[in-house]
Symmetry: D2
Subunit: 360 residues, 4 copies
């Protein structure tokens, strides 16, 4: 089931970067939720190519169509919601050279090793285009979380290469994230990040960085004790995104420099409401939410396609070289922000329903 | 299902730190594998308490019993293998104070918030004791990988707080890992780590660190393109371990400081055998193995139980304090090594079977 | 998840009888299978309305479109295959009365009780139209079974009300099934069945009957010992079809009149090839195929929509009456034949892959 | 996942008829349910061998032990409940001949064809002993249904060979079922059935029959529209039981003799309470419960082990004969009753939780 995600709120994505389009089937959505394309399109617009000067200029309107699952009054029926985005701006010719050669650090070789066949035009399922379905489904998940559970999910660019933004996870707002094209709420850092990305692009090179994801308002008690810990499911969700190579929750890797005494979050209660005086656990303890803000960081490596000649091999396993061509992102981070939000929301809504099933 | 892991080679663990014991049911194991307790006990011995002066002195022999799934000639039948370890050294009285109070940064509070009931004696399912089942099942997975697929899985302590070991993932051997009680193959660093842990224990404090996991000999083609990427499943597997708060694959978080040109792994071929000249991808590209050594790092936070008075709350949500008592690990890392190996092997054997199902 | 079926060869159907169409995502299909619309359309044509005078005259061309998962050379990529059929002949006005009333023995009431909302135009997901996705996916499954495993799947009408056809499961061929519009290979019985259905239709009434399903060439060893017995999965597959109310494998309900001594199938071997002298087990013993022809029977109740006034209730729970209108099948059996084949093939291909995963 | 059943209330059974015992892990059980061995043992006593003169005299006390998942106050913790029954009366020597020969219409041959190895002493997983875990888990499911949802699950013997009992599914009570050793609530028919079974046993032969299962008090709205229809899941559950070869819901196979006009269940309402004037649908329409009593019938074939010489083959595929030996049931039906109840309860509790998750 490589292409499905979630136990109760389950999505199945399909489609390659070239072909009839990309889409997703959302199964298990609660009934009677008001839902239309207008709830989904804004997040797709945050994800789509061509949105600014620091992302790929590929032209895709990424217009969402709902094919099923909605009543004539605009309510979810409780049955599968099928969402479809047509592919528009396909230029297979830009990929002609990839037909016989594997791009370094791309999935061309591994797909071929696995399947013995591959969609060489555009990267097939390994293309970031696959995330259209995730972001669309995530928009529905976010709406449910917001309206039914009072939970807000948000992500933003925390770091581009060495440039780090200063952001408070407890107070940052969507409008802060959307206030600039790199989606770093720290305006000063954002400016520098944009300049760096422009410079890197003009060099035909690429950079990576960190997206921070947060969820506010999650009640204590979501998550599972053992394999489906909230952090475990979030880690899987993030590492399943293209180019993501790392995940840390709360203090994460930094936390290992502290002793237990320094690292522990003290519980306090005021008017029977529980809180912790610090939040090094990132809102999750023993795999289950504790009521504090959930936050985590995800590392995205620099995009593999660079406009330079690089060593590689052909399908016939002969040594050769390849130079990147076509329209690519110099940095995935601005577009990764809605992807991180979507995957976070999908994990949380699934656990919300699981919690309701077993413990309500 | 919170307590099951894997799609085809599926394990289900059960049991609390106090009660009739802990165990695991392994379903989907290939038939006709020679298997006895002797294949499993060694890894349990590496995991068990009381094995050295730097781990908890709790006395558990952790003797494994196979209850089903083996033929009278000692071969796996292809049907579920039920494994059971009795609990022996239970001292609930050490937990009496926890009956009414939540330990800071433990799962006591979140379990109670979730279920409205909890096993206060020893941490219940949040106890590291739950990993007995994982390590036992992992020993079977490792045996299959070794004998049927030529794959070797290994883990070792890479870092304790600020002390970093120097280890080569391409050449390190099990005997290097087992050459000292902290399980860091760098003998010099190991010595310092041991001293640090002893010092920390005598202070009634705790430390965390990094375990590195590797898999050598994985053929190109294991893993799935989208949600079940090999890294995604490994990330979930690791973050599902108690106290694990971070995962990174290949260059991980460090990789974001490089540009794409610097980060890419060039493909080369020699005698029709493919390799990469560097391995910043950690053996996985687009979620699928590329034939290079798989390696990743996992961050374990300092153990939450410290022998100092700390602020916390009672079940009645009143502010109070609590001082750790009983027999605890000053550092989980030496015992986390077999857990990381087990979870790695479980992920890999599952993907090996999935690959065989779809693509053979 | 309500809308997914299969563990390794997994399909997810979506769509209502009214709306953007119906479709299916097929995940887990082996790569490098030659596949085009031409492999799928014939089975859809056997399923579609308007194909003969004894089925509903609703006009739907049911033209299949493959949206993803196929290489430019026409081979499956191993990634999800998305299949879509547009809805064409929708006449919601025929359903106006159903907007407020529940049709007797239909799913109108139960959907409303479950979801609090329903797609009243055409029955929503309860419409036989939902089976388009199953039949399309089943055509792929049948092709894999035929080409990769030498297995032939077939179904035919065995009984319409009291009229029983005489058919030999060991020798019947597709062309026999397709030799008449009721799809009963016994030509004489078929004639009577057609006359009965025409008579029943002119009375504004409906009839049910039995479809027999068979699979020839299944090797010994497919299936699972306990919950996923081959018969259990086939039973679920059949009972999941609209209007299906019964399933029996081999001698089924009739077998209970025999004693064990009479019922047992004796094993014999000739040139090291095993066979049974009778096949009362229907090719399955202990849930696992034994190499004989698999056969089973499925009961389809008479269609609920009759052109007579019937007692029922309104959405406001007031007593009222309702008379069927619109274009409906007087008997689902001729169109159920490809559905039974599809579900059989989906079960078998899934078990073929599972067997390969665990035991090859 | 051959050995797991259920999506949210999930059980995993393990164990062979010979070996360390049989057991089950129950995952997903709601927390804070009062539960002890006393809730489970009675159903195991109804299932166990040696309970009467018409079942196998094998002596097993089948004493259940709860190994995990219960708090010190006797409440479910929400974590896995591990249940274990030791094997006691094993006489492998009775099976010595089966070591080299396959019993006709047993699973010996198919297991060997599948796995290339088998547990010849007692039938391994194909033994009715495997159902111990199901019945134990089912007792928990029945308790939840009764206490939390007001649903009563019951089964009884409806037919033994040609002898049919007259039972009213709307009014029959557990004490009626338990009033005689064959578990047919029609006392007169029961007497004849018992005499028939005694006669058949003395002939060294066996008989089959029908168990009817019912569920009263299921609210309208449980079940799923497409693949996981309530009937589909019940059919799978029943056909997964040893020796079960048929399932029919409501009027089932008999219903096909009626026309639609005769078969439809008219809806009526009284004081805003909905009911149907007949119940040919068996309480399920479109896969979802309609509030009426759910009822269905299951066909159990005659036990394959007869005390007569029969043709069969050896493991070396040579023709030979075999005569049944040992202690076997002349008729599984009395012991199948608690199995049918258990599987019914497992299906229903799973759908109850699923309904709560998605639609509450």
């Amino acid at each position: 089931m490589a292409s499905s995600f979630g136990q109760l709120f389950r999505i199945t994505t399909w489609g390659e970067s070239h072909g009839g389009g990309v889409g997703v089937v959302v199964d298990g959505c609660p009934p009677r939720l008001k839902l239309s394309e207008a709830d989904i399109q804004p997040d797709l617009d945050r994800r789509r190519p061509g949105q600014s000067k620091i992302v790929t200029p590929r032209k895709e309107s990424d217009t969402i169509q709902i094919l099923s699952g909605i009543s004539e009054k605009g309510l979810t029926l409780g049955t599968p919601i099928s969402l479809w985005v047509k592919n528009e701006d396909q230029r297979s010719e830009a990929y002609n050279e990839m037909k016989d050669k594997f791009r370094p650090s791309h999935a061309d070789f591994t797909y071929f090793a696995k399947y013995g066949v591959r969609a060489w035009q555009g990267g097939g399922r390994a293309s970031a285009r696959e995330t259209v379905g995730r972001v669309a489904a995530g928009a529905i998940a976010k709406k449910i979380l917001r309206e039914k559970f009072g939970v807000e999910v948000l992500a933003y660019v925390k770091q581009v290469q060495k440039l780090i933004g200063d952001v408070n996870p407890e107070t940052v707002k969507l409008k802060d994230v959307e206030s600039n094209i790199v989606r770093c709420p720290d305006a000063k850092a954002a400016e520098k990040m944009i300049r760096l990305i422009e410079k890197i692009r003009s060099d035909g090179n690429t950079v990576g960085g960190i997206v921070e994801g947060i969820a506010r308002g999650v009640p204590a008690g979501w998550g599972e004790p053992v394999f489906d810990k909230l952090e475990a499911d979030l880690a899987k969700a993030m590492l399943s995104l293209p180019a993501c190579k790392g995940f840390e929750s709360g203090d994460g890797f930094g936390g290992i420099l502290l002793t237990g005494l320094e690292h522990n979050d003290a519980f306090r209660a005021r008017n029977k409401k529980v809180f912790t005086t610090t939040n090094r656990s990132g809102g999750i303890q023993g795999g289950i939410s504790n009521g504090e803000t959930i936050f985590f960081r995800t590392a995205f490596k620099p995009v593999a396609t660079v406009m330079h000649e690089q060593d590689t091999i052909s399908e016939k396993l002969e040594n050769t070289t390849l130079k990147g061509r076509g329209r690519h992102d110099p940095c995935v981070l601005p577009r990764a922000v809605p992807m991180v939000e979507a995957m976070t929301a999908l994990v949380l809504v699934d656990h919300a329903l699981r919690q309701r099933a077993q413990c309500s």
